[in-house]
Symmetry: C2
Subunit: 390 residues, 2 copies
Amino acid sequence: MITVAQALEHVFALVAPVDIEEIPLAQAAGRVLARPVSAKRSQPPFAASAMDGYALKAAEAEPDAMFKVIGEAAAGHAFEGSVGPGQAVRIFTGAPIPDGADRVIIQEDVGRTGDLISLNRDMDEGFHIRPAGGDFVEGATLDAPRRLSPANIALMASMNIAHVPVRRRPVVAIIATGDELVMPGETPGPDQIIASNSFGLKAMLEAEGAEVRLLPIAKDTVASLKAVFDLAKDADLILTIGGASVGDHDLVAQVAEDLGMDRSFYKVAMRPGKPLMAGRLGSAAMVGLPGNPVSAMVCGQIFVVPALRVMLGLEAAPAPRRRGVLAIDIDANGPREHYMRARQTDEGLAPFGRQDSSLLTILSDAQALVVRPPNDPARKAGDTVEYLPI
Amino acid sequence: MITVAQALEHVFALVAPVDIEEIPLAQAAGRVLARPVSAKRSQPPFAASAMDGYALKAAEAEPDAMFKVIGEAAAGHAFEGSVGPGQAVRIFTGAPIPDGADRVIIQEDVGRTGDLISLNRDMDEGFHIRPAGGDFVEGATLDAPRRLSPANIALMASMNIAHVPVRRRPVVAIIATGDELVMPGETPGPDQIIASNSFGLKAMLEAEGAEVRLLPIAKDTVASLKAVFDLAKDADLILTIGGASVGDHDLVAQVAEDLGMDRSFYKVAMRPGKPLMAGRLGSAAMVGLPGNPVSAMVCGQIFVVPALRVMLGLEAAPAPRRRGVLAIDIDANGPREHYMRARQTDEGLAPFGRQDSSLLTILSDAQALVVRPPNDPARKAGDTVEYLPI
């Protein structure tokens, strides 16, 4: 058996960033920017008023000074003339500062009668002018790679970037295997169960930016497995679920090898999720996930999500961990890295008592996976541990 | 001016949960479950083997004991007979436990010659049987409301729930207003800028589950505003951006009131984002956001996202805050609640020096909004503060 870190390195070696596509800005949120983009203009493009008030010459802005209002500047409507001595222009937030003016007196500090204004004795000291290019200048870049946040989208709009170069969505084909499986909505036989892992993994990977195809369930025969693998040929990543163990009925590895899979490894010292394999099959990467529901989902989180991030052009890195305190005592760990389902409580992380890898209810109720290194000693309530939020 | 908490209560009073729709399970991730759903079967539906090995009578499982292998049980293929004294059935993970057997000896603890097996002297003590209904029993519920996680989806699949009752996506119409605005990709005039808030807000609200419609930019005329409001009639929530201030050119409040808006409030003691209004306009809730880019985005986070969660049937609650330490000293706060854009560094939260509400670059680079209560005193590096991750 190899360690989780070693297995993850193997998985990273199997994948590479996918192609770049240009998409409209309005569809780019959550996608991964593939190349830096440059501002097509400065923002603001002109010195602009930060407040509603009167634009005039700063040198004349004395208490009680009077000015003649010679015009108006609003956002989108510049004042075309120039502000001379003793003159002011009524101005609104976002309007270009008129030539000759270099300060805005906020309207609360001004009294107005007809075309005349007088400044108050006590005035706000600010100049209330946003300099041209104060936010960014033409050519300023938004760096890549990065997953585009709502604020990134707003910034690119402001930069007048209408189309965005992003990594296309990696195509992930999911193959659930096993004669015991039927699809949700079907009527299972007395010795059958419902395929659940494929639906959970689809949700997990779509949230990361994949285009997921749920292929038909493969039966435990060479012919059925080959037929379903054939449907996955053009995927970037093929995930099989089940059949990666050593039982006589686990045909997936055998069929994949018949089809030319170059297998990278077989078993990983982790819990849940021991049986796992990975390799390349034609132009696709392939990861074989264990069939136990929780094992499949945890391996998805630990191996597949980081692999998908590499395919999206992001850094090859393990799933980010946080540090938290335990709410309860927990026993010593065995020789495998253990990802314990846990609740987040007011007192800290509370791993569930039942950790069997078949229990989806426990995974569904968990907010965290507490990570136990191999042979980690017993831990007390209040001890700090690492965990993955889920 | 009213406080942020008061304003949020007003906004909550304007919105209510939207209708429920039934959607296919494969599309339900991230949606909000509207009603509890019940398992249509127990899982496992039968006592099942947790390992590959041999099923036999526990009372006979003595070291060196020998058994005759009378058949095989695999996942999806039960052994139809019964296990008698001195008999064993070859069994694989997930297979039903045959009648008469009540323990599985893992294959590593067994030697086999033809049809005969003998148990090792040292055996794993586990019984390796998952009892019927050990994960959940028929009728067990997944509670609502909740946003559906990948694990929830896997669990519902396992419960054979093929269609899921969720809140439909609330329709949010976004109206950017102002003669100074053009759309990304257009060529702005010398006193114009690019509409950015609407794109950032669209990304923010779609991530929360809204169906967002970007309406045409409204010019600063009564006719243009009325025409665009008319396009928003069937929305659940109308957001206007800009024009909610007190300047002579801010027509939005006036036009909305002409159209029958019942206005809830006008100004909120927060920074950025002071001018803000909300009310009801026909069957829609309406929130008027300030026009400064960062103000609009922060108000979106503080008011609109929580309102959307109420529309999705979730709890009426402020945006969840976390606690973190400051990496640097910061000055005392003024009378308004201040949301300071900050980086997450190894040393803690580092608010940016420039906090002007026009600076999208700073928002784009920020990972957190540090929340300063009104009149919060100066804080030192190492002090604990509240923040919103963004």
